[in-house]
Structures are given as C-alpha cells and as structure tokens.
C-alpha cells in the first residue's frame, strides 16, 4: 500500500517538473506583457509533432530533436507576437484575452487537417525502458524529461538574472515605464519574451514526445493545466510557477490515488479555486 503511495509521489514529481517548465514559459509571457497565451498548449502540441515527424521521417531520436523544437517554436513565437499579439496590446482587455484563443483553435485544427486527429506514439527511443529503484519503478524517459525540465528552468533563471538581456526582461516585468526610461527597448523585450516562452514550451514538447501520446488536441489539457499552474504560482512569478507545477503534479497523482482517477484533473482545478479564494494573487504573486 505505502509502496504504491511512494510510486505515486514519484510519478507526481516527475510530471510536475514538466508542468513547471511549460508554465514558466507561460508566466514569462504574462509577466512581461500582461497577456495570457491561450495557444500555449497548442505550441506544445506543435513541438510534439515536430519531434514525431523528425523521428518518423529522418529517424532522429526525440532527445536530439529538442533543439529543433526549441528553435522552431522560438520562430513561431516571434511570428505570432508580431502579427497577432503585438497588435492588440493597446486594445481592450477582452481582445487581449480572445486573440490567442483564435490562434489556439487555428493551430489545433491545422494539425487536424495536416495530420488527422489520430493518436500517435514514438515507440522506441534512446531512453526506452525503466529503472527499478527498490520498490519504485521509474521510466527513463520520464526521469530524463524531469531532470531536463529542471535544468532548463534553472538555465532560464540564470539567463534572466545574469545577462544584460535577461535583466532588461526582468526590469520590463517590474515596471515597463521605468525600463523604457532606462533605455530598454520594451517592444523588443516583448518579442523576445514571447519567443523565449514559446521555445521553453517547445523544449517541454520535445521531452513529452518521448513518452506521451501525440495528437492535435493534446494541447487542450496541458494548456488548461499550465494556466492553473501559472495562476496558482502567481502570474509572472517564475519561482511560483516552478513550485506550483510540482504541487499540481503531486495533487494530480495523489488525488487520483486517494479518490478517483477520473477526477484527477478536477481535483487540480478545485485546488486552484480554493487557493485563489484565500490568496487571489496566487502563491507568490503580488
């Protein structure tokens, strides 16, 4: 009984780290430009398909296609920012909320048109197999994904805190007008943040493609979870998103274990509603 519990905790931590990486991309975008990218999950889906097709057509292992996923999503992020998001930044709040919904529906259905709604799976990768640690089984692909997600999240934090560009992003997040007065080109910071946020979810998609089903609607679930993770952590807070991601991973698996697996996502959403009732700004928001 308790062995199973330990297994669930491990599973929760493993998926939680990936949630964190997805959510950090989203929270970076929100913090800098006050936009919720509702197409974030669909960006993830595209990255998974990039990985799938590189594997199927060229035979490239998903682990090695991660740089390509990141690069392609970086470019996609730039394009979406230039041609859609930047145009509504000064518009009404409602337009800012809805614009990325349009992108989301467009991308998911483009995937349906190009690749049919079928479920796909990359069945044999460099990291197939499981390790047995005592009574706990750990899939190698999941372990590498989680460790990789933590490493990439850490790298982002280092980039933001140690480089000039990173500091410019953080400064814009804190106070746009002051940053502008200090000579920061905030429009470029916006574009860069959107692109980096997209590249991060690209990396996460590369990791997930190693063991998760790949289908056009996969973004819906991960997208919704990442909104909850971001809001739970506090919009714009990267550390908050990281902690909340792991928390959500744990709540999801333990909720499924103690109650009913069918309700595992509902329990996550309930946790979110309870949290914002007590702390409307999220765990680490201000």
């Amino acid at each position: 009984m308790s062995e199973q519990l330990v297994q669930q905790v491990v599973n929760g931590l493993l998926i939680g780290c990936v949630y964190s990486l997805i959510a950090i991309g989203l929270t970076l975008i929100w913090g800098v430009m006050n936009i919720v990218n509702f197409a974030h999950g669909d960006f993830l889906m595209l990255a998974m398909f990039v990985s799938f097709w590189l594997y199927t057509l060229v035979g490239l292992d998903p682990l090695l296609s991660i740089p390509f996923c990141a690069l392609l999503l970086f470019v996609l992020g730039l394009l979406i920012y230039r041609f859609a998001v930047s145009k509504v930044m000064r518009g009404p709040m409602l337009a800012q909320l809805v614009v990325t919904f349009g992108v989301s529906i467009f991308l998911a259905n483009t995937a349906v048109m190009l690749w049919t709604p079928d479920y796909r799976l990359i069945d044999r990768t460099l990291l197939s197999g499981t390790w047995q640690l005592g009574t706990v089984q750990v899939s190698v692909a999941k372990l590498v994904s989680s460790v990789g997600s933590v490493v990439v999240s850490g790298a982002l934090l280092l980039f933001l805190r140690r480089t000039r560009t990173g500091k410019a992003i953080l400064a814009t997040e804190m106070n746009r007008d002051s940053a502008l007065l200090m000579g920061v080109n905030t429009d470029r910071v916006n574009a860069l943040s959107f692109a980096i946020g997209s590249a991060l979810v690209g990396v996460a998609g590369g990791f997930l493609s190693m063991y998760y089903y790949i289908y056009p609607q996969v973004g819906g679930l991960f997208g919704t979870i990442s909104f909850v993770v971001v809001a739970l952590g506090g919009f714009g807070s990267i550390t908050g998103a990281f902690i909340a991601g792991i928390l959500v991973g744990l709540v999801q698996t333990l909720g499924g274990y103690f109650f009913d697996p069918a309700y595992k996502y509902a329990i996550v959403f309930l946790l979110y509603l309870l949290t914002v009732w007590i702390r409307p700004q999220g765990l680490l928001g201000w």
Partner: protein
C-alpha cells in the same frame, strides 16, 4: 429625436423580417441556422450582463448552459416534469451554482477570473462525465413524447422552435435592457471601471457581482433547456465543452461587449457564418472550417476589437465614455436615501 425614430424604424423592419422568415424559408436548414443563432444570441446576451456590464470575463458559460439543459432533461426523463417547469428549475439550479462559485471568485479580476471560470467549467464537465445519475459520458436521451407546447416538443417542422427561440432571445434582450438602465446596471459598470472606486462609493461589489453572475447563469440555463428540447439528446461533450464558452465570448465581443444589442448582432453575423462553413467544408472532418473560424477570431481581435455595435453607433469609444462617470455618484446618492 431623429435617432430614436430611426431606431424604431429599424426595429420594426427587423421584427417584421423575423416574423416573416419561417413563412418565406420553409426548409429545415435555414430554420435550423436561425434557431442556433437565436440560442447563441441568448447565451451572448447572458454573457454580456456579467462580462460586458460588470467586467467579469467568463470563459465558463458552458457550465451554466449545460446545467440548465441537464436539469430540465433529467426531470423530464425521470419524473415526466414539463420542460417549462424544468426550465425554471434549471435556471434556479444554475443560478445557485453560479452563486456558490461566484462568491469565492468575487475578488478575482481580469485574467484570474477568466482562468477560474475555465477551471470551474472543467470541473463541472468532468463531474457530468462521471455522474451515473445523468448517464455519465453516454448522456441523456429525451424520449419522444406526443408533442405540443406543454411538452416542449414539436414534430411537425421547426417553426415552433423558431418562435420559441426568438421569444427567448427577446426576453433576454428585454431583461438586459432593463438591467442596463436600472441602478444595478450603473453599479455593474462602476465595478467594471474600478473596484476601489465602487467600494469608496459604497457599492457592495460582492453583492452586485453575484447578482450579475446569477442573472447570467439563469438566462444561459434557459438556453440550455431550449437546446435539449430541440436536439433531444445531450452529453457532456456537446453542452459542457470549452469551445461553447469561447464561442459565446467571441460573439459578444464581435457584436460589441457592453452594449444591449451588440451580442445579438454578433450572433447574427458569426453563427450563420460558422454554420455555413461547417456545412460546406466540415463534412470531410478535416478541420478546415475550424481553421477558418480560428483565423477569424484572431482577425476580429486585431482589427475590430470593439465590435460591430461600436462601429455602427460610435458609442463605445476607445476610452470609457464620460456619461457613466457623471452618472455614478448620482446613482449612489439616490441609493443612499
């Protein structure tokens, strides 16, 4: 004076056209498109009361819609209760749920509220997908009755549904019009402009936000009953999904959020368009119709974010119009007497 006369003429022409429509176009498809348009217009009017007036951008209207549809259908299937009574029961149930969720969310603004509403609707969908009492994922099938008004089922053509759907829309518009002009409507807009200012003026924003959500939920639930009685089948994936909620927001935005008639105009443009693309392109299951739809949403947000109503009347300016600002303190003074 001249504008009000123009408005009367326009209203008379539109009303005559709507009454004449089912006698001119007798085929099932045109009537179907109109019924769906009225239904979504009703939903958008309901959204507008909480989103357009009170500034709570809900992306979870499907939950209210679904609860209404499920309540009346469940009562009819198990106890043979007339769907008209079911409609009232569903509306009340939906308003109660809305109050239960609206209370803890009453401090949330902007994005936080939007995401909370998605989370709430997803919880409701998950629950109905697993709730054996209402058929879980298999849904409910409403048995064919002998038909007639009391049974809310009509087996000879769609015209009765057409007029009932139209009546629903007119009733919701009347309610919305009344809300917009009542003191409550001014409070809603005050809260939308600034929580702090509204509080300073002595407006209990929790109470008025709850009122907006509950009215909105009741109307949405009524549209749900209409849907259930029209299609005679419902499952969680057809009435409780996020895509319905998004479509409702979009219709209201395209028409003009915050205006009384904007949401109905938005529905009149967007629903026939999406029904036509679905019929002409969607049958292959290739997703092309939804691709066009998604692109359209993005284009509207970028190029016409203030809606058609704003374009027609110039009333919804880029900044908040000065009139409500002046009207607010007056409304409060009246309230404090």
């Amino acid at each position: 004076m001249r504008t009000s006369r123009l408005a009367l003429v326009v209203a008379a022409v539109v009303a005559a056209a709507l009454v004449a429509f089912p006698f001119v176009f007798t085929g099932p498809f045109p009537l179907h498109v109109m019924i769906v348009t009225f239904m979504f217009a009703t939903l958008a009017v309901a959204w507008n009361i909480m989103g357009g007036y009170a500034g709570m951008f809900s992306f979870g209207q499907a939950a209210f819609f679904g609860i209404g549809a499920y309540t009346s259908s469940y009562l009819f299937v198990t106890h043979g209760v007339s769907p008209w009574l079911g409609l009232v029961a569903g509306g009340l149930a939906s308003a109660l749920v809305a109050a239960a969720i609206g209370y803890p969310c009453s401090n949330l603004r902007g994005h936080y509220f939007a995401i909370a509403s998605i989370a709430f609707a997803e919880i409701v969908r998950t629950h109905f997908n697993n709730w054996k009492l209402v058929g879980a994922a298999e849904g409910l099938t409403i048995p064919m009755s002998k038909g007639g008004f009391l049974q809310f089922q009509f087996h000879h053509g769609k015209a009765p549904y057409y007029f009932i759907a139209l009546a629903f829309l007119l009733a919701s518009l009347a309610l919305s019009w009344w809300v917009a002009r009542s003191r409550m409507g001014y409070y809603f807009r005050a809260i939308k402009e600034s929580h702090e200012l509204a509080m300073v003026l002595g407006i209990s924003f929790v109470r008025y936000r709850l009122a907006a959500i509950m009215i909105s939920a009741f109307i949405s639930a009524a549209a749900g009953t209409l849907y259930a009685q029209y299609i005679l089948y419902l499952d969680p994936e057809s009435v409780l999904v996020l895509s319905i909620s998004v479509q409702v927001v979009l219709i209201a935005m395209l028409g003009g959020a915050g205006s009384v008639f904007g949401p109905a105009i938005g529905a009149a443009i967007l629903v026939p368009l999406s029904e036509l693309t679905r019929v002409s392109l969607g049958h292959k299951g290739t997703g092309v119709d939804m691709m066009i739809y998604g692109a359209l949403i993005t284009l509207i947000s970028v190029y016409q974010p203030r809606g058609v109503w704003g374009l027609l009347t110039g009333r919804i300016g880029p900044r908040a119009p000065p009139a409500p600002v002046a009207a607010r303190p007056v409304a409060v003074q009246e309230g404090s007497k």
